[in-house]
Symmetry: C2
Subunit: 294 residues, 2 copies
């Protein structure tokens, strides 16, 4: 989607504020009275980011979780959310899921806007958080010699979506990872003082790893067999490219005493010919590394 | 739109945070490190909040101005914005208008999200501001004996929209008030220490005055002839009910030395049978006071 990328690039050039990291980063960080306020905004569109026939309570959950996951990657604690809600579906079910998710994450609803729809439903959520550690972790900071870690398996959301699409898992465990992803807020706060770079894996491990590599000016060498997956072994390659799992991907010095269970999945190298090596080989990025969000 | 109102009422019940004022208030106010951070989020949908054929640069301007106006009513200075942008129209024109508006208001782009569309374009903007005066003005605070003021005329956006719809004013002065509304940030900051209640007139003078009355637990008595209008005299009644002018409506003690030009348009009375009197008579709210945002 060249036009989208060009648009984002133009927006990024506009974003001259020191806290601004452009629209393809997850969060902005702004200083207020000696505190670092972390801000993120995600939009989900029916038919693009969720199935139009999905339970609106699950959609609300995912909208909250995806924003909370952005806060988690900054080691931030939630302060609240603003909702941009387009009326149109089963609004009561949406509200039930929203209330459940906000209670789960301790993020009160602070305000927002409701509008009449005029087509596919679009939902926006702004999350506001308070950084618990300075400097606030970013994508830029991975140092050659660091290890690359992930907090847990990828591929679970992929399997969940497939269960849902097959009609088996609308309410069941099979689709839970897709329907009700968990944002790792506590883990992010524990990791923030230890990491050199961190982000959440929302668009696929390889794509998001390439983003860390580019932002940090390094090469990341990933050992594919070391990546924990929540999918059959035959689907390993897909699991590395699928999004929506919201694990934390981070780099830390080799001697860091991690306070959170995490899996070493690769090494940080001096920048080579490619930002990303998979099992020692540069991978063809033109084929796509993951889910380029539409 | 009962379902919308019921939905908002349910959201407001959820909003238990002290800074939360529900989704039909304009802003949330959150404390960070001794500073009051003001947050607002507005959504605009093609065909609902703007004409699908409008210049996207004007749409971007209005999206920014309507959020800046919410900050103005809190006496806040802009810190930045997050954009939720649905690709689909003339994205380059949108970008040009966005850049112009953000430069005009000194509000840098901090981040956001871009998504593929799937129907009518929906645009969301979150604005972040810093309160310049404590307590931060709200709708609740008008006291019997205060005067009601407005900073300037209403009805200009109505006339501008009609010019645009008639095909006369796509680029001209005639439609300027509708296409490029001005948020009164400097005025809001000067007024914040003086007012007892304040909001911006986005949905119509009468509707927004009724909101101040209800939030403050008073009756507002408006003298319709005293309201400045930017429309023919024959359209006075319409001008009082039309939105999008973004004037500031506020109450202040009779002896307040206002530092901003403003027109006295009414009085604050003890709560009577109706929250709003127009020329001494209670008005029939069931007929609609203004623009209930869809």
């Amino acid at each position: 989607m060249t036009s989208e990328l060009a648009f984002i690039a133009a927006l990024r050039r506009m974003a001259s504020h020191p806290g601004a990291r452009g629209l393809d980063d997850d969060c902005a960080v702004v200083e207020f009275g000696g505190e670092a306020v972390v801000l993120t905004h995600d939009v989900m569109v029916a038919g693009v980011h969720y199935l139009p026939e999905q339970d609106p309570a699950d959609v609300a959950w995912k909208l909250v979780a995806s924003n909370m996951s952005d806060l988690a990657a900054k080691g931030a604690e939630p302060v609240g959310v603003l909702l941009g809600y387009m009326l149109g579906g089963d609004d009561a079910r949406f509200l039930a899921g929203l209330e459940e998710a906000l209670a789960h994450y301790g993020a009160p609803l602070l305000g927002g806007d409701t509008v009449s729809g005029n087509g596919a439903q679009a939902l926006g959520l702004t999350a506001i958080g308070r950084a618990t550690h300075r400097p606030v972790p970013s994508r830029a900071g991975a140092e050659p010699g660091d290890r690359l870690y992930i907090t847990g398996p990828v591929g679970g959301a992929m399997m969940g979506l497939e269960a849902l699409q097959s009609g088996l898992g609308a309410d069941g465990e099979e689709s839970l990872a897709y329907r009700r992803p968990q944002a790792l807020l506590a883990e992010g706060q524990k990791l923030a003082p230890l990491v050199t770079a961190m982000m959440d894996v929302s668009d696929g491990l390889l794509l998001d790893a390439a983003r860390i590599a580019r932002a940090s000016g390094v090469t990341l060498a990933i050992d594919s067999a070391a990546v924990p997956i929540a999918a059959p072994e035959a689907r390993r390659a897909d699991a590395l490219r699928w999004g929506d799992d919201y694990q934390l991907l981070f780099t830390a010095p080799r001697d860091a005493a991690l306070s959170v269970a995490a899996h070493p999945v690769g090494e940080v190298l001096l920048l080579g010919a490619a930002p990303l090596l998979l099992d020692g080989a540069a991978i063809d990025e033109s084929a796509g590394l993951g889910f380029e969000h539409g």
